[in-house]
């Protein structure tokens, strides 16, 4: 039987962006002079030519159904000029050349349930990963965590109350897709994988699983006469890296999956160099559908930052100025042996000075 004739793909790769840009942006490409922030969620950019473009930014649920997408497009046609873009945090932006359209557009978005904000020194919406909706290794959901937290932070999304911008992220496994953020809420496993030895030999390419482990805790072994893998449970750091290449090494467990909170990741070069986030809290229950314990800690950290930081200080700069002991003091979070780094280069994270605040 002849195979059905398949269509050859057109390998067009990344499409040309100019065809989708607002004409004012196309005309003034590379010729922008300055911007202003007329109100939260609205930007005004002025080009050297004198032309202007207003941007209205709104939060979305990120996982869009076609109805919601069309609702946004209707707003884009009716109240804007048919040109949109998305930020890396899945906010939608509408660009208009006519400033008179801004207020009606803001109102149309708000009326349809899309909060307008997320610019300048606000808490913008959270970058997130797949979670239970779609990933094969998640320890928690992502969209649900974000929805629950943004419900509580929506006021901060819509205003400019923070010392500087706050970027948050979540990640539903410990090793992968989530990003660096001023605050990151990530899953953390606390027990080594449970191995289904009957399946390992058939499913897993054992040498590559062994190679995947960051701490060399896995070794090949014969279990019940079958080739399998064995984990040195004392060494294992419960990272879950062995699970994607070998699903019989089940890391997810409804009891032993907790959330951890990290702060101070900052990708900008403004003032200081970019920084990675640092562990501040763990052992937080993975508690769907609203994860209230995690949200409470996030809100506490935000409140302390808001009260304590100076204008323009990002989360990491604030802590650097006041010092980690004071951070734990003002937030009331416990400092434990788990905060002390023991990975490669760990001593760089210790205090080799007498710089101590009393």
């Amino acid at each position: 039987m002849a195979a059905p004739k398949m269509r050859e793909p057109i390998e067009s790769g990344c499409p040309d962006g100019f065809q989708y840009m607002h004409p004012v942006m196309r005309r003034n490409y590379g010729q922008w002079l300055y911007h202003e922030d007329p109100r939260p969620g609205v930007l005004l950019h002025v080009a050297r030519s004198g032309e202007k473009i207003w941007t209205v930014r709104a939060g979305t649920q990120r996982i869009l159904d076609v109805f919601t997408l069309r609702k946004l497009m209707d707003i884009g046609d009716q109240f804007a000029e048919g040109y949109v873009r998305f930020t890396i945090r899945s906010n939608i932006e509408f660009m208009v050349a006519d400033g008179a359209k801004v207020e009606p557009l803001v109102k149309a978005l708000e009326d349809a349930g899309f909060p307008v904000g997320g610019t300048r020194n606000s808490v913008t919406s959270m970058a997130h990963t797949q979670g239970w909706l779609h990933c094969d290794i998640p320890g928690t959901d992502a969209s649900g965590v974000v929805k629950a937290m943004m419900d509580e932070l929506i006021g901060e999304f819509k205003s400019w109350n923070m010392p500087n911008r706050v970027h948050m992220t979540t990640s539903c496994c410990q090793i992968n897709c989530g990003g660096q953020g001023d605050i990151a809420i990530n899953i953390q496993h606390v027990k080594p994988p449970k191995i289904n030895h009957a399946l390992v030999g058939n499913i897993c390419e054992r040498p590559s699983v062994v190679a995947r482990c960051p701490v060399a805790a896995i070794r090949p072994a014969m279990v019940d006469g079958k080739p399998s893998l064995e984990v040195d449970e004392k060494k294992c750091i419960c990272c879950g890296a062995c699970y994607p290449p070998c699903p019989p090494m089940q890391i997810n467990d409804h009891q032993y999956t907790q959330l951890a909170i990290w702060i101070g990741g900052n990708h900008s070069n403004a003032r200081g160099k970019p920084t990675f986030q640092r562990l501040v809290a763990a052992g937080i229950p993975n508690n769907p559908p609203r994860w209230p314990e995690a949200t409470a800690i996030v809100k506490k950290i935000l409140q302390c930052y808001k009260e304590g930081a100076r204008d323009w200080e990002r989360m990491n700069e604030w802590v650097e100025r006041i010092g980690w002991p004071r951070f734990f003091e003002v937030t009331g979070l416990p400092f434990t042996k788990y905060h002390i780094d023991n990975w490669r280069g760990a001593r760089n994270n210790l205090n080799s000075s007498t710089h101590i605040r009393f």
Partner: protein, 431 residues
């Protein structure tokens, strides 16, 4: 006849609150979509998701599928509990490459939505963390026709697996006065050189390009890409002294001290002058601003605070950092400087950029271990071996400080020092 809805008591809670609810969106599809296939699929998906919420476990497993002619670009998902929720038991995601900067017309998004609801679940995301449009939920017979349909009008798959991944670029020159480069051109030159490596995974692991127009790095390229291209400039920051004066008075007004020049100056000292990381700024008595440009590290802070008064220079180009990545396997790594400055104006400049990327990917493909990111390879073999492998000379901008350990063989010192002097001489005579 309406099918029975799976109960979703936990998910229902996520319809409360003011933030847009993805669950409400799912339910709208389940209840009101004209296609029975979509209604049933989403009903089933809600059932499985509710089950995950109740048991705190995920139930998807992967596999291998791709469209005809490609080896990647689709994330296969098969349900482990398909017997309980059969109408969503195959729920694959197609990763589709957006344009640099994520621009769309409403017409184009409508067209994509029309195609997607014909074949898929009606759920999509703009965008995944790697930057793809994610069309979530096509079954095994429908992903190919969906791809065929959108491929005909200009959309192509992104990367998945050990391959060059979809790139990301900031809004940049299209709308941002801070930009120093043509993100659109850089992004497409790089990505579309490697279409084959995007579609047919054959590298040690993933490789990501990201482009930011200035050191604000809105695209997170230093921390999240193997090859980060960041716009910068070499000449002086442009100062509009009249606007500096305006900014001082405007700040005074903003902090409730309308007309109080000294309050405005105070704000400037506290928030701009003293926050410059290299102490390169001075505010004179007459409110004129002076910048020691030879000490400015292009951090962007002062430009961010005074976007009307200060502007990036004219001698623009890019800095390139390599080796950034997230945790797995050896821990998070930032990219480090490999090219301190390079002009990107002429076709030759772009060719040089693309060639460099090719050299880097070739060297890594050859020398990287299985599942080893480029930055991890650099860490293992040392930056110097990497530089020699890709033919780039050492430069003091690549380091924070010189080595502090004497455990090093230095029998090639004289030649290395001579090479440095030769390079310096050549640079001088070229200038």
């Amino acid at each position: 006849m309406a099918t029975k809805h799976y109960p979703t008591p936990m998910l229902d809670v996520l319809e409360e609150g003011e933030w847009p609810s993805f669950i409400s969106g799912f339910k709208a599809l389940r209840d009101n979509h004209p296609s029975e296939r979509i209604r049933n699929t989403i009903n089933s998906l809600l059932g499985q998701l509710e089950h995950s919420y109740e048991t705190r476990m995920g139930y998807w497993k992967g596999g291998t599928i791709s469209v005809f002619g490609y080896g990647g670009g689709i994330i296969p998902r098969f349900s482990e509990i398909g017997h309980m929720f059969p109408d969503s038991k195959e729920f694959h995601t197609l990763r589709v490459q957006p344009p640099a900067g994520n621009y769309y017309t409403t017409d184009m998004l409508r067209q994509l939505a029309d195609s997607w609801e014909k074949w898929g679940s009606g759920l999509q995301t703009f965008h995944g963390q790697t930057g793809n449009i994610m069309f979530i939920g096509a079954d095994s017979k429908n992903y190919q026709p969906f791809f065929d349909e959108i491929n005909e009008y200009g959309w192509d798959l992104g990367g998945a697996g050990p391959c060059v991944r979809t790139g990301m670029s900031c809004v940049g020159s299209a709308r941002c006065e801070m930009s120093n480069c043509n993100e659109q051109a850089i992004h497409r030159h790089l990505l579309n050189t490697f279409t084959d490596d995007v579609h047919r995974p054959a590298l040690p692991y993933k490789f990501k390009f990201k482009v930011s127009g200035c050191p604000n790095d809105c695209q997170n390229s230093i921390e999240r890409s193997d090859f980060a291209v960041i716009g910068t400039w070499r000449d002086d920051i442009k100062i509009d002294q009249a606007e500096v004066k305006n900014a001082i008075m405007k700040k005074a007004a903003e902090i409730g001290k309308e007309g109080d020049r000294s309050a405005g100056r105070h704000y400037m000292f506290d928030n701009v002058i003293s926050r410059c990381p290299t102490g390169a700024m001075k505010l004179n008595e007459d409110d004129t601003l002076v910048i020691d440009n030879s000490n400015c590290v292009r951090c962007m802070h002062c430009l961010n605070v005074m976007p009307k008064a200060l502007h990036v220079g004219d001698d623009k180009g890019v800095t390139i950092l390599m080796g950034g990545k997230r945790t797995l396997k050896i821990g998070d790594l930032m990219g480090t400087v490999v090219v301190p400055f390079m002009k990107l104006e002429t076709a030759d400049d772009y060719e040089r950029l693309v060639e460099m990327a090719q050299n880097v990917i070739d060297f890594w493909a050859e020398n990287g271990l299985e599942h080893e990111r480029c930055g991890e390879m650099i860490e293992r073999i040392g930056l110097v071996n990497f530089l020699e492998g890709v033919g780039i000379d050492p430069d003091p901008n690549m380091i924070k400080q010189p080595r502090n350990i004497s455990y090093v063989r230095m029998d090639g010192w004289d030649e290395a020092a001579q090479a440095w002097f030769n390079r310096k001489r050549a640079e001088k005579s070229a200038a």
